[in-house]
Amino acid sequence: MSERDDQSDDELEGQLSRPGEERPPYVESTIIMTTVRVIAPFVLTLGLFVMFHGASSAGGGFQGGVIAATTVVMLGFAYGIEPIAAYLRNEQLAALVLGGLGTFLLVGFGSYAFGGTFLEFTLYPIHHGSKYSIELVELGIGVVVSGVITGLFFLLGTGLDSAYDATEPGEEDR
């Protein structure tokens, strides 16, 4: 297997993509950067729509959360992952994720205050109380999912770089 790899490397010289440390931090393409700048707000809006409107149409917290996190992924690809990861720190993401799960639990336990049991949404004494609590729960799920995906994206995009730098020069690959 490794023989075949070496052989193909020799044959296809010049077709190797550059290793990580030689690449520029972002794409440096005007088309991609402009496109991302234009469509990012719309993608975020679509994600929030899918999250909020999951009660009345297809969608829900899981799907909407992923679409909302895609905004960060697009911005990362266009403008470099490092600056965006520096702007949104892991502690803030963890707080966001914790807040999402906390919202779910709060709505779940809240029905005890009105003499019900866990997750008994119909007891909330507001108009369409059940529907709005379900939407609030979907929003919480969406925040959890988008926070986790953003964190995973940042960790895979930046975390390994520091590990890469930490190794002695010359012993990274071979």
Partner: protein, 178 residues
């Protein structure tokens, strides 16, 4: 009739991209073929009138998974190649055996959308379809079941995603300090 033709076209596309994902030697091309396969699955779900599942498959399977694969591959030195992976006789036989074995179970399944299947005739699903709007005030019955009737399960799912996120933060940041 035309819907069946479209479903058949999507299935052919899925088989083609699955074969490409397995056989292409170029890792990046293989990842893109895998994303195409996921997208085919998403289109198939929406043809089969499961828009919620289709949305999930398109966002998670075709979107985020591909991004994470590409991100991981970008950290390595990728050898670009235009050739196909060689298939040995033994693995070819294994693939044929698996396909035949799994394919043999397909005639045992009920026809798609046939009445009298346990899902359509079951008391539970009929109860949900009859009462979901009155009891939860939510018009999307999938959401009504997920959060309204099965809220505890969904809380478990959210907790799993949360725990996975926290574990990932701990483990991957541990690598950083080695």
């Amino acid at each position: 009739m035309s819907a069946e033709f479209l479903v058949a076209a999507v299935l052919v596309f899925m088989v083609g991209s699955a074969l490409a994902a397995a056989l292409l030697r170029d890792v990046v091309a293989s990842i893109v073929a895998f994303a195409g396969y996921s997208f085919g699955v998403a289109v198939l779900w929406s043809f089969l009138r499961a828009p919620d599942v289709a949305l999930t498959e398109a966002a998670v399977g075709a979107g985020i998974t591909t991004v994470l694969f590409l991100l991981t591959i970008a950290r390595t030195t990728v050898s670009r190649s235009e050739r196909f992976e060689g298939v040995s006789l033994r693995s070819g036989l294994a693939v044929v055996a698996i396909v035949v074995t799994v394919g043999a179970t397909v005639p045992a399944l009920p026809a798609m959308g046939a009445g009298g299947t346990p899902v359509l005739g079951g008391e539970v699903s009929q109860y949900y379809l009859d009462n979901a709007y009155d009891q939860t005030g939510v018009t999307n019955v999938v959401t009504a079941i997920l959060v309204g009737y099965r809220g505890f399960d969904t809380l478990g799912e959210a907790a799993v995603v949360f725990a996975a996120g926290i574990a990932m933060l701990l483990v991957l940041r541990q690598e950083e300090f080695v």
